[in-house]
């Protein structure tokens, strides 16, 4: 089964999407989230996530920034227009983030920024602060 083929209920309050073109990074982020009790759905590109968003957005999205074709920033810019966006926590999942870059990502609509490599504790802290609920 491909990364985005699993059927997932986006109304599930404990569903998280992981969007990253790197399979290893997706696997690590998903493993952390599953350990924290989240159901995860993986996407290998921003386009795949955007397509799936027609069925609704989950409460938590972990998004790589530097992806080919559609960057994580472009994806969030587009998803911010989505009716569910106000109830979705967008977390940037990025390599090599300087303070200025982190500020720019927050200005673009991300709620938090995680710099790779991300520890389980960092993911736990970020996921704990998801302030949105579908319940």
């Amino acid at each position: 089964m491909g990364p985005s083929e699993a059927v997932m209920d986006t109304n599930n309050p404990m569903t998280a999407w992981v969007v990253d073109d790197e399979a290893v990074n997706r696997a690590l982020a998903s493993a952390f989230l599953k350990r924290l009790g989240w159901d995860t759905r993986e996407f290998a590109s921003g386009g795949e996530a955007l397509e799936a968003s027609s069925q609704g957005l989950p409460p938590l999205m972990i998004i790589d920034i530097r992806m080919p074709r559609m960057s994580g920033t472009d994806l969030v810019r587009t998803l911010r227009q989505h009716p569910d966006a106000q109830r979705t926590c967008f977390i940037a999942y990025t390599a090599h983030c300087l303070t200025d870059e982190a500020s720019a990502l927050l200005d673009e609509g991300f709620h938090r920024v995680l710099s790779k490599p991300v520890s389980f504790q960092q993911m736990q802290e970020a996921a704990q602060h998801v302030p949105f609920s579908r319940t």
Binding site: V24, N25, R35, A95, V118
Partner: protein, 126 residues
């Protein structure tokens, strides 16, 4: 060199355990790393041969991110430094370094692929 030692020469296992809680995830990510390396390495070599810096930069970034995620930190640093160097000076002055990085990524991949079997054989010793 045994496969587990080969892996430890690339990956800081202490850092990996600290980040991930245990070393078990290495076995899950090893086949994913291998599946990516299968396309990275020929694409990287081809882009260098064609003197095309754009895909070289993209692949250096991808490989660096992936190596960082699995705590292959010296290699991740080498790839990042190479990315910056190619970005500022172009590809030509760094061709020899690119070949070495390619060799290192291939060796890391070999060690990743061999690690689960090596670990199982160590565990099987009574």
């Amino acid at each position: 060199m045994s496969p587990s030692h080969a892996l430890e020469s690339f990956i800081d296992l202490e850092c990996f355990v600290e980040l991930n809680g245990s070393a078990d995830l290495i076995e899950s990510v090893a086949p994913l790393f291998a599946s990516q390396a299968v396309s990275w390495l020929p694409d990287f070599e081809s882009a260098i041969a064609q003197d095309d810096p754009a895909p070289v930069l993209h692949l250096l970034h991808q490989m660096a991110g992936c190596c960082a995620a699995i705590c292959a930190l010296p290699l991740a640093r080498g790839l990042r430094d190479a990315e910056r160097a190619v970005l500022s000076q172009g590809l030509n002055p760094h061709r020899a370094n690119m070949q070495q990085l390619c060799k290192d990524v291939r060796q890391l991949n070999d060690a990743m692929v061999a690690y689960p079997a090596a670990k199982a054989s160590i565990s099987a010793v009574p």
